[in-house]
């Protein structure tokens, strides 16, 4: 690994100025489970590594008055799934962070880092998109927000400009009669990269008979995790049934343009979109009803 300078600012402004100054040569370190590997393998290089785990805004999480979750960007996976309030409200996210790497990875890897790493196969991103999360970005020009669905721009690339960093994510309160789920397909049962991942969120009517709103997002089927808009919109007003889930799965396939690689052939991945969309919708509806 080529050596670099390391800094661990305690103030957001300091981080922004350090990042701005180093420009392209700076990399952000949160849990380090991706960036350290990439630096070591020469996939990335840096003159400056900015550790953001000492900045309070990035390490905290809280529920706002409106019951939205404000999740600091460097909060590690384990804090998400071990928090009973978060794991009750945002089950899709909990599903995802519980299977990112093994336990050792979850001790360090952050949800924000998983988003910033912008892997097409990231586990938490479909969950964030399904849960309609919004990313809060701070930089030299001030603050801005970007929906999670628009945060990634290409494999390994995101919307962050020079000097910017992800501060936190807002996950809207899921609302009554709602449920969500994330599932991925992997050949092993753990320690694997998604062949396809799917996150689904549903809000049902008060009788729990019909879907009022749905959001489906997919990973590992395009250059970035994608929101399956048509399938999501179509679900609004549909009754809860296996046929409906299957139809949504067919519609979700429309946004899938996967590649053939060692993790799975394209045709198989497209097929899995249907399977996982159906399965996550079923789980999300079941959770919404209980």
């Amino acid at each position: 690994m080529i050596d670099f300078e390391y800094t661990a600012p305690t103030q957001l402004d300091d981080a922004i100025s350090q990042l701005s100054e180093a420009g392209d040569r700076a990399r952000i370190l949160a849990g380090g489970t991706d960036i350290i590997v990439q630096l070591r393998e020469g996939l990335q290089s840096a003159d400056l590594v900015v550790d953001v785990k000492k900045i309070p805004e990035l390490t905290q999480f809280e529920f706002t008055a409106g019951q939205d979750l404000q999740l600091g960007a460097s909060v590690p996976c384990w804090q998400v799934y071990e928090n009973s309030e978060i794991s009750a409200a945002y089950t899709a996210l909990t599903d995802a962070v519980h299977i990112i790497g093994g336990w050792q990875i979850q001790s360090r890897a952050s949800v924000g880092g998983n988003l910033c790493n912008a892997s097409p196969a990231a586990d938490s991103i479909p969950a964030l998109i399904a849960l309609d999360a919004v990313a809060h970005i701070a930089g030299p020009a001030g603050r801005r927000t970007v929906p999670a669905s628009e945060f990634c721009t290409a494999p390994g690339r995101n919307v962050l400009e020079k000097g910017e960093l992800l501060v936190s994510l807002t996950l809207p309160a899921p609302g009554p009669h709602s449920g969500s789920a994330y599932q991925r397909f992997i050949p092993r049962n753990e320690m694997d990269i998604a062949v396809v991942g799917a996150g689904s969120y549903v809000r049902l009517d008060s009788d729990g008979q019909k879907i009022e709103q749905a959001r489906i997002a997919l990973s590992a089927v395009a250059a970035t995790p994608v929101f399956a808009e048509e399938a999501s919109n179509w679900l609004a007003g549909q009754p809860i049934s296996e046929d409906v889930f299957a139809e949504a799965g067919e519609l979700a396939k429309k946004v899938a343009s996967p590649i053939d690689d060692m993790r799975g052939p394209a045709e198989y991945r497209t097929h899995l979109v249907g399977v996982l969309t159906r399965r996550t919708l079923a789980t999300a509806c079941e959770r919404a009803r209980t």
């Binding site: 397909f185 050949p187 753990e190 198989y268």
Partner: protein
């Protein structure tokens, strides 16, 4: 515990068959055990390799000057720094090696033959610096066409790896060079007549992907080539003496100038026999005058060391409607990797080794192509061919509507069965393993539920004898220090010590086993071939008898009687109306004479013939093609289980390696001949969340060639899992998969095409 025993041996042993805590165990659970990478010698420097980015390329030039100019960089080396190799084939006990090929694999000469082939190396004062310096060594390549699939490499117009490679065959040698390194043929009986007598014939083609041994410890060595000309190497190896032998040949120096210190070793499975980084660390040490450590990165381990061959196989077997096998034919092509010396020989010998087959023909081809040089991997060659032959056997059982265990029992090899390659079996335990599975609770249980199936398969491996040496010294406190040359990969210090203890009538804890370097013990072949508990155990038994003889003499001297009047039973020496326990006599003996030192040196030239039968229940998700192992039972003939826990451990470990091979492990090659998954993330070995408990049934049909009946247990358990799982999938889905691994996309596709 779920272990069952089916035993024929005398149960009067005091030590054998018990489960003492292993001697090196405490050090290994506390982190105190010293593995090679744990060494930090004074003034030590660190080496790094430059490797070919091409699967096949002419090396036009190598410029090391930029690297050498970096502060902290001490030296570089290329193949020019190795002596011109002998074009000589040497016997490493576990197979032969041509030193010209070995040298060319250690550092490429003229051509790089696979992606990751070592081309140059550099040593620096720290490991990061060495890595940076390696990136500044400029190598100019002229890329050549490459091939990574065995049938492609066999074609007439395939790019040749070696211009001078003439097929080795007992037949007339071909006139032209090719990538076909060898052609073997066996015949037995008359296959035309055999197939004519069959009521049912099944013929299928099979493919298996390249897989890696997957040991967790990377290859690592520390070399110190001193000013007096002596070379000392600490290394992770299965066989310190064969490392010494290879080093002496590659560096053209006398073996007496070389000391190999085997450190604790983090797994090998056949992959840590050949040398890789050791000669390079040595040359760099000579050039810089410091001890040099080289540890491979994990991607280097995958790209440049030990995979086992990919293969193409065609197997045809016929049987009568009563279920008697009449004939078998096999055509096998294995890839050897970039250099000759693959495992087609044992592949050919094992393909029909489980059965009494009256008529058969086997053709086998070993083929070089642009992949890393293959190495042995646990029962090398046998897993491939068992996948093919056992799948066909199972399909015959299905077609004949005969229970798969009964079908195998009707045809199982027994004492007196002549193998297709010629020799006749002595007493073997296949029938006993089949009966053990048939009588198991697992087999008798009902498997219900959709998409579930149960499969069974047999496996065979020869097991080796070879050379082993020990010395054993009696201490005045009644303990015995046992010095052995076998590196301990999985508890063999204890399984060997237990045999010494049994013979002497002392406890396992009263033996202090030590693995010694090559200057401190006699020649010992590798820890491999399932041979260590068998052969080094035999040496320990000999040493114990030697001690016993000396102890009897000493007792006679003390009691002033004839040695012939002294007798010993279970460690108590009696004579002249007196008696002394081993430890009492040890104390007295010490005060009246010279040290008592026993020696054992053996070279048993036998195969101990291990058989295994596995039973597996699977569930298939038809929507994803994913297979879940629900239940697994493995029976194996251990001869005698010296330490049953470690016998179970070998069976369980081999089974799970076989499960990995069956379901997910493979090298993914792209069109450029590059491995795309050279990491533990994407080379999917089973985690503990992927497998159930592995139930074991230890069958004990004692080996007539060993005083305690040991057969060795290390290898055969990897053989049955792929065909057993294939058959279970067939029962679950109706689909017979013939390509390994039987990964989810493949099974999904097969299910889909079937619909």
């Amino acid at each position: 515990m779920s272990t069952e025993f089916m035993t024929e041996h005398s149960t009067e042993y005091k030590v054998i068959g018990t489960r003492p805590v292993r001697h090196d165990g405490s050090d290994k659970v506390t982190g105190k055990a010293v593995y090679t990478d744990d060494l930090h010698l004074p003034n030590m420097a660190f080496g790094a390799f430059v490797r070919s980015p091409h699967a096949h390329a002419k090396i036009v030039s190598i410029d090391t000057s930029q690297a050498e100019d970096m502060p902290g960089v001490l030296a570089t080396c290329t193949s020019a720094d190795l002596p011109d190799p002998w074009d000589k084939v040497d016997d490493l006990g576990e197979g032969c090696v041509n030193y010209a090929h070995l040298s060319g694999n250690v550092l490429a000469r003229g051509k790089a033959l696979y992606k990751g082939h070592a081309v140059a190396a550099v040593v620096a004062t720290d490991s990061h610096l060495a890595e940076e310096a390696a990136s500044r060594i400029r190598v100019e390549y002229e890329p050549l066409p490459a091939t990574t699939w065995v049938l492609d490499a066999m074609k007439e117009d395939a790019p040749l790896l070696h211009d001078d490679l003439i097929t080795h065959t007992l037949d007339d040698a071909p006139a032209k060079p090719s990538n076909i390194e060898s052609h073997i043929r066996f015949e037995k009986g008359n296959i035309e007549e055999g197939f004519a007598a069959a009521d049912v014939i099944v013929e299928r083609e099979f493919k298996t992907a390249t897989v890696h041994q997957g040991y967790i410890e990377p290859h690592v060595s520390v070399a110190s080539w001193n000013e007096d000309g002596r070379l000392k190497i600490w290394t992770a190896t299965q066989g310190s003496f064969v490392v010494r032998q290879q080093m002496a040949a590659l560096l053209k120096m006398p073996i007496s100038q070389i000391t190999i210190v085997p450190c604790e070793i983090g797994g090998g499975f056949g992959g840590k026999i050949s040398v890789y980084e050791q000669p390079v660390a040595a040359v760099l040490s000579r050039k810089c005058g410091r001890p040099v450590k080289i540890i491979m990165r994990r991607d280097e381990v995958f790209e440049a060391t030990g995979p086992t061959p990919g293969s193409f196989m065609r197997v045809k077997i016929g049987a009568t409607k009563e279920g008697k096998l009449t004939a078998g034919e096999a055509w096998l092509a294995f890839d050897a990797g970039a250099f000759p010396g693959g495992v087609i020989g044992p592949g050919c010998m094992c393909v029909f080794s489980c059965y009494d087959l009256p008529n058969a023909a086997v053709d086998g081809f070993d083929v070089v192509l642009n992949k890393p040089k293959t190495q042995a991997y646990r029962a090398p060659g046998s897993t491939h061919v068992a996948f093919a032959a056992e799948s066909v056997i199972d399909e015959l059982a299905v077609q004949l509507d005969i229970d798969p265990i009964e079908f195998r029992l009707k045809n199982a090899a027994v004492e007196g069965t002549r193998r297709v390659d010629g020799p006749v079996y002595p007493r073997v335990g296949l029938v006993e393993c089949l009966e053990a599975v048939k009588n198991s609770e697992h087999w008798k249980s009902t498997l219900s539920g959709p998409n579930r199936g149960r499969g069974v398969a047999c496996g065979f491996w020869f097991n080796a004898g070879l050379k082993s040496s020990v010395t054993a010294s009696v201490n005045p406190d009644g303990t015995v220090t046992l010095v052995e040359g076998s590196t301990d990969i999985g508890g063999t210090r204890t399984s060997i010590a237990m045999q010494l203890a049994e013979t002497l009538g002392i406890s396992a804890e009263d033996v202090i086993p030590q693995v010694a370097d090559t200057d401190s013990v006699g020649f010992t072949d590798v820890t491999g071939g399932s041979r260590t508990t068998f052969a080094t155990g035999l040496a320990a038994h000999e040493a114990a008898l030697d001690i016993q003889r000396q102890m009897m003499e000493r007792a006679a001297q003390i009691w002033e009687c004839d040695t012939g009047d002294v007798e010993v039973r279970e460690g108590v020496y009696r004579g002249n109306d007196e008696s002394l326990t081993f430890s009492e006599l040890a104390l007295k003996a010490d005060s009246v004479g010279e040290a008592i030192i026993g020696r054992g040196a053996v070279d048993p030239q036998v195969s101990t013939n291990a058989f295994a039968v596995h039973l597996v229940d699977v569930e298939v998700d038809p929507e994803t093609g994913k297979v879940t192992i629900l239940r697994y039972t493995a029976s194996q003939d251990a001869g005698t289980a010296i330490h049953p826990s470690y016998v179970e451990g070998q069976i369980q470990g081999g089974s799970v390696q076989g499960i990995g091979w069956a379901l997910n492990e493979e090298y993914f090659y792209d069109d450029d001949g590059h491995v795309r998954n050279a990491s533990f993330l994407d080379y999917r070995m089973p985690t503990c969340y992927d497998v159930p408990m592995i139930e074991t049934i230890i069958v004990e049909v004692p080996n007539p060639d060993h005083p305690y009946g040991v057969r060795g247990v290390g290898e055969v358990s990897i053989v049955p899992p792929p065909p057993a799982i294939a058959s279970a999938i067939q029962r679950a889905t109706g689909i017979r998969l013939t390509d390994l691994p039987m990964s989810p996309p493949k099974l999904w596709r097969a299910i889909n095409n079937g619909e």
